[in-house]
Assembly symmetry: C2
């Protein structure tokens, strides 16, 4: 959970964005991600777009569901949309392009936390809906890899169940 | 470049492996990756398997190419194979499962560097060849997401061209 506190401006410094680029794994000589920043009043305007779109998709959507969409981008002061641009037929397999995009998203989380912010990597139907994608300015062949919500922590992150390492780690032998 | 130095044993402590699991992005309640560690003499045995397989694939492979395969896993003392286990039909879209796997790989790199090691995330044909995958113990539906080579830096990492941020960052407006 994140609070829209007083630090609502300029919390997405360029250094934060640059970090993932500088740490992108090897093999990808072309640039495989771009960033669309959503902040300020635009967050609420996007919420209205989502409400309208949900009404189209689900005419019987509940009031609670509509409110959730209205506020989807209102919880954090800054959201960085990581947009993947897969290159078909590139020497780097598409699966590696995606893995690289996942690394970019995680780097943004790490960079945000390193700067003292809290951050969450979220997606939902919004990341896949063609109408919403078009309104966000994405081309047909682009994909939202994540909405990185960046703000200040309103409460500590909850712990998650952790796997037993011994179940997931093996030593290879010929 | 990494050197197989004196620190050849126990350089893959469990804490290093656990780190990515603990930082896995939200949404994936099931475990989507497992780890196969390759170290010690097994690295050379795997090299011989690669040589034999390359001869099958490319009967005219050059001596240099065969030597490259023989030494592919010999440069770093420890290689952690990150194995993705996609779950078809899961509520988490497969693209997000892959992105999560990319995050796991990057977390391993970060964890290794945080512990004072150098690390590289590599793939190559070895990650996709069905015979090699079978010899590594992977099921048909599993995929190598990366070989994380962990060791000590023999030389500083070379700098890469960096993108111009202004070309890749935009501010969304309705």
């Amino acid at each position: 959970m994140m609070a829209d506190t007083h630090r609502t401006t300029h919390i997405c410094p360029h250094s934060l964005i640059l970090t993932p680029e500088s740490r992108r794994p090897a093999g990808c000589c072309r640039h495989l991600a771009r960033f669309v920043q959503i902040s300020g009043e635009a967050r609420l305007a996007l919420g209205e777009i989502l409400v309208a779109r949900l009404r189209e998709r689900e005419p019987d959507a509940s009031t609670a569901a509509l409110i959730k969409e209205r506020l989807r981008f209102a919880c954090a002061p800054c959201i960085v949309t990581v947009v993947g641009q897969p290159i078909r037929g590139h020497k780097v397999p598409e699966i590696e392009q995606l893995l690289s995009g996942g690394a970019v998203c995680l780097s943004l989380l790490h960079a945000a936390h390193a700067l003292g912010f809290a951050a969450q990597w979220l997606t939902s139907w919004v990341a896949y809906d063609p109408v919403v994608k078009a309104r966000l300015g994405l081309d047909n062949d682009e994909q939202v890899l994540g909405f990185i919500h960046i703000g200040s922590a309103a409460e500590p992150a909850s712990e998650r169940p952790r796997p037993a390492l011994n179940d997931r780690l093996s030593q290879w032998a010929p």
